[in-house]
């Protein structure tokens, strides 16, 4: 019990009149990478948004570090040490790359600066286009910016929605390495369609379908289990 960082119990989420999530349950242990899988429209993004407080759960609880955060406003949740990379990147189009990074910084101390340097090394493109408005970046560059922005804060938990989307293979590799590197300090919940990436990073997995958690287990098990893969992911 003590070993859970994040826990979702009986989460139901409505968007307007639509009932999107039905009794979603899952648990994240510290230091692990948990992967959310499922087909389009299954409710993965909604799950992450519900954790962030961007969608409100109509019932059920989200517990983070033993504390009920279900009803907290998003900024409050973020301040508790949760970073978020949304699937649409969430770039402020009119602000420059630098300004985008600056808005995202929760603190401006030395540790942050250090992380900033590391991030810019990771994605040199961002350094190159530091003064360019975010809206003018290429699709992949936007993705990098979104990831980078979440990296500069010290997060206990990072929710990442499809980071590999639109990234060139080299960069995907870099992102994988970076997440591996952060793992000790930062727990990660990852939504990922790129099975290669998911299986390299994931410790545990959950499969969502039609707003319900239909399966979960260790990633290693999934990697071997062709049957499961075919059933839920349509791959062999």
């Amino acid at each position: 019990m003590t070993n859970t960082l994040l826990k979702l119990e009986q989460i139901n989420t409505h968007i307007e009149q639509f009932h999107i999530l039905h009794n979603v349950e899952f648990e994240v242990s510290p230091g692990e990478v948990t992967v959310l899988l499922g087909r389009n429209g299954a409710g993965k993004t909604t799950t992450l948004r519900t954790i962030m407080g961007l969608n409100n759960a109509s019932n059920g609880t989200v517990t983070f570090k033993g504390e009920d955060i279900t009803k907290l406003p998003p900024y409050h949740i973020a301040k508790k040490g949760i970073g978020y990379v949304p699937e649409d990147q969430g770039i402020f189009y009119g602000l420059t790359v630098g300004e985008n990074m600056r808005v995202g910084m929760r603190k401006e101390d030395d540790a942050t600066k250090e992380r900033m340097e590391w991030v810019l090394e990771l994605f040199p493109d961002l350094k190159k286009f530091w003064k360019k408005p975010g809206g003018q970046l290429s699709g992949g560059q936007k993705q990098m910016l979104s990831i980078a922005r979440s990296y500069v804060n010290e997060n206990d938990l990072l929710l990442i929605d499809e980071p590999s989307k639109g990234l060139a293979p080299v960069i995907v590799e870099k992102v994988i390495e970076s997440i591996e590197k952060m793992k000790e300090k930062t727990t990660v919940v990852l939504v990922e369609q790129n099975f290669y990436m998911a299986s390299r990073l994931g410790d545990r997995f959950y499969i969502l379908d039609d707003g319900m958690t239909v399966h979960h287990g260790d990633m290693s098990a999934l990697r071997e289990d062709e049957e499961l893969k075919r059933k839920y992911l349509g791959i062999a």
Partner: protein, 251 residues
């Protein structure tokens, strides 16, 4: 082989930064061509230049031998160049079905009809539903496009392109964000078009397995320049491509 679209010294710079640099390529008709390259290499910009969203600083674009450099997006679409967008670009507050129907309406040249009721054109609706079926989206036909999940929007994006039924299809990362389960369906659609043999497809994609599986020809852009052009084997053997783009071991 006869080329359907051809560029000559195509160049564009955004306030000093040259995004596409003197690219001259010729895309053969009815072949499947892929464009690859690192992020920010200029692939999307290259598409924008072909489809008319952007005008080149220097250089020319020829479509079926005709110089279309000065032509607008609208004219190029009417000539038969259709595209999908990397960042989804649909009509958010109308239904999925109407999104697709608009594309059909354009293809059927029903543009200034303001007397008839839109339901008069029954076959548009039927066809739109058919297309939604092929991209596995018919279940969401009556949802507002804004309410789609990301992957669903990508499918809608493709559906609209199919509805337009252009001679030249420019696909900008059509399967980005699409689930593993659904990619095959989309691939099938693309493969079917390819098989029909009278359409030309140009694809931007980072998923190398897909690129290699589909392409007859691959173009590599790097820093806005044309780095290489050739069949998949040639490209995979190219060392620069390997180090600059693909990186370490990759699937």
């Amino acid at each position: 082989m006869e080329s359907i679209i051809e560029t000559k010294d195509l160049t564009i710079s955004f306030g000093g930064h040259i995004a596409v640099n003197q690219v001259s390529v010729s895309i053969p008709r009815n072949l499947f061509t892929s464009v690859i390259g690192p992020n920010g290499a200029g692939k999307t910009t290259f598409f924008n230049l072909l489809s008319g969203q952007l005008n080149p600083t220097v250089g020319k674009v020829f479509f079926k031998g005709e110089n279309i450099t000065k032509k607008s997006t609208v004219e190029r679409t009417r000539l038969g160049i259709g595209r999908s967008f990397q960042i989804t670009n649909v009509f958010p507050n109308i239904t999925v079905l109407e999104n697709v129907r608009l594309a059909i309406q354009s293809r059927e040249k029903v543009r200034f009809q303001m007397i008839r009721h839109f339901t008069y054109y029954k076959k548009f609706t039927e066809e739109a539903l058919n297309i939604l079926n092929t991209v596995l989206l018919s279940k969401r036909a009556n949802a507002l496009a804004a309410n789609l999940s990301h992957g669903e929007k990508r499918k809608l994006e493709i559906a609209m392109l199919l509805a337009l039924d252009p001679e030249l299809l420019l696909l900008d990362e059509p399967t980005a964000g699409m689930s593993l389960e659904e990619v095959p369906a989309i691939l099938e659609v693309i493969e079917n078009i390819k098989k029909e043999g009278n359409r030309t497809i140009i694809l931007i994609e980072h998923k190398m397995d897909m690129v290699l599986g589909l392409s007859d020809q691959i173009i590599v852009l790097y820093n806005g320049e044309l780095l290489a052009q050739g069949n998949p084997e040639e490209i995979m053997d190219n060392e620069t491509v390997q180090t600059a783009y693909i990186g370490g071991e990759s699937k």
